[in-house]
């Protein structure tokens, strides 16, 4: 059986509590290799909390997440030791933050930012690291001449593209994205989405993308989960959810797109 025919990540009844309140609860879904899953909902609906729990940045309060490693072994994420989770972070996962400042070392050069994950996984040849960094700068449309400049000197769009390069350089299998395009102006958003869509298709990545923008979900995701007050209220193929919303809240969301 081809390993790509099997589910990559399976969440069952996942929840994370903040004290005696819950941030999200009872979330279940399956994620297949190469699939882009959008999590939409308004501010405060638990999207980012869910992403934190899935990526093991937040501890699970309830439920299980099964994940299939690159070597085919299936693991229960909450049972993994911290060192194995770190190892996943280094070799199999990426995380694109909403603010590139959170995901980049702002005072380390662009080349160093892209090179860090490589060096963390044992690359020890400066020339090769630098060549790979240049190649990725080109792919995310940052002039290679800026390789030695720190991200503090970059525009918002360039920072976000650099963050994406830094996350994709180790060829991850699964990338978490938290509102990667908010905070950018509309034309930059469109180009960034194009880039993400292109890279995701080219590399066959699985992506969980959190967004409040239904347009983003429509453009790049295969399936969509709609969240409200920490719970999933609707899920399905993106086109189905957006064209024929079943839940009252989703209907409200879809009808409230500006100019849509």
């Amino acid at each position: 059986m081809n390993t790509d025919d099997r589910v990559l990540m399976q969440a069952r009844g996942v929840g994370h509590n903040y004290g005696d309140r819950f941030g999200c609860c009872d979330v279940s879904f399956e994620l297949w290799p190469g699939e882009v899953l959008a999590v939409v909902g308004e501010s405060g609906s638990g999207k980012t909390t869910l992403l934190g729990a899935l990526s093991q940045r937040l501890a699970l309060s309830e439920g299980t997440i099964r994940y299939r490693l690159a070597d085919g072994e299936e693991v229960e994420l909450s049972q993994l030791s911290e060192s194995r989770v770190r190892n996943l972070w280094r070799s199999e996962w990426g995380f694109v933050h909403q603010n590139p400042e959170d995901g980049l070392r702002m005072h380390v050069s662009a080349g160093g930012n892209i090179g860090e994950p490589l060096m963390a996984t044992g690359w020890r040849h400066y020339g090769t690291i630098r060549a790979t960094a240049s190649e990725w700068l080109e792919r995310v449309e940052i002039p290679v001449s800026r390789i030695d400049d720190a991200p503090v000197t970059f525009s918002g769009g360039m920072r976000q593209r650099l963050q994406i390069a830094r996350n994709l350089v180790v060829s991850p299998r699964l990338v978490f994205m938290d509102e990667p395009t908010s905070g950018l102006d509309v034309s930059v958003q469109a180009r960034l989405l194009d880039l993400i869509r292109y890279l995701v298709a080219e590399l066959g990545l699985a992506v969980v993308i959190v967004t409040h923008d239904l347009g983003v979900a429509r453009l790049i995701s295969h399936r969509t989960i709609v969240m409200k007050e920490g719970r999933v209220i609707e899920s399905g193929l993106t086109d189905r959810v957006l064209d024929d919303p079943q839940a009252e809240y989703t209907q409200l969301l879809v009808s409230s797109i500006l100019g849509g």
Binding site: G112, G115, M119, A120
Partner: protein, 286 residues
């Protein structure tokens, strides 16, 4: 009621404190390169002047010891002289400036040129024990990185050096990997001295008083200076011989000799310089 008075507390600190320090030292020796927290005490000098080293020395020193104190290679600078006097006063030990005669050598920023032996202990004064600190400010995070051997970040520093300067421009406090496991700051010794730590027969102890950490390199332990395959670690080199004793292949200080900016290069290790110069004059009968 006559007889010898019982002597308490050789070496300034009380017995409980020394016990605590010795426990930390034993743990440090057991886990080479690992930073062991300890309850740093006040000693009669300001933090930053070698309080960590002084506490380690105080925990080790006995009446039979012969102490040498080095400050930037020299035995006659303020820090070296005052620490040496301090231990003469509180422990009644013999002192020396000769590396080969000392049993404990407390040092700031240098390893002696004279090869060390198995019955010697080096004590280093450490200002900042955490090699990752300038790249990662959170102590919780750096501790995690050590625990999980997550050292990619250190190479980012070296990468940045090469990208900016064309070579690894770190010339002191050059990060090392100890026993293939822990990343360690060798204290601000010049990278010239790094190779002397590798498989050294002496015991090397590091004390950071302000940061409250002790760590160690036991005898014959691997100490590897980091580098890239195409930009390997290269210790500094000095082409000219010492202007006083004529030594080559040693670490040099540049001494300004007049207001016009003339200078000369002399050995940083004053003990080595004196002995080499003395040996030369003996050879040449006047």
């Amino acid at each position: 009621m006559t007889g010898e008075p019982i002597s308490y507390n050789t070496g300034y600190l009380d017995e409980q404190t020394k016990r605590m320090l010795r426990r930390a030292l034993l743990k440090a020796v057991a886990i080479p390169g690992f930073q062991v927290p300890f309850a740093s005490r006040e000693v009669p000098m300001p933090r930053g002047w070698g309080t960590g080293g002084v506490q380690v020395t105080a925990a080790l020193i006995g009446e039979d010891d012969v102490l040498k104190v080095i400050d930037q290679g020299a035995d006659d600078t303020t820090n070296a002289v005052s620490i040496r006097k301090f231990f003469v006063a509180v422990a009644g030990v013999a002192t020396t400036t000769r590396t080969d005669e000392a049993s404990i050598i407390q040092t700031r920023h240098r390893v002696p040129e004279t090869p060390l032996s198995e019955d010697q202990i080096m004590v280093y004064q450490v200002p900042g024990p955490e090699p990752l600190r300038f790249l990662e400010r959170r102590e919780t995070e750096t501790r995690r990185m050590h625990a999980l051997e997550d050292y990619g970040l250190m190479y980012v520093k070296l990468y940045e050096d090469i990208a900016t300067h064309g070579h690894i421009a770190t010339t002191y406090d050059y990060p090392v990997m100890v026993n293939g496991r822990y990343l360690m700051s060798p204290s601000p010794i010049p990278s010239f001295d790094n190779p002397k730590l590798h498989r050294s027969p002496a015991l090397h102890l590091f004390g950071a008083g302000r940061e409250k950490r002790i760590y160690a390199v036991p005898p014959y332990t691997d100490v590897e200076s980091l580098g890239f395959e195409d930009y390997p670690f290269e210790p500094q080199r000095f082409e000219d011989p010492c202007a006083i004793c004529g030594s080559v292949g040693v670490y040099m200080d540049e001494i300004i000799t007049d207001d016009a900016g003339s200078s000369m290069l002399v050995c940083s290790d004053t003990d080595h310089c004196e002995r080499t110069a003395a040996a030369k004059t003996e050879q040449v009968p006047a």
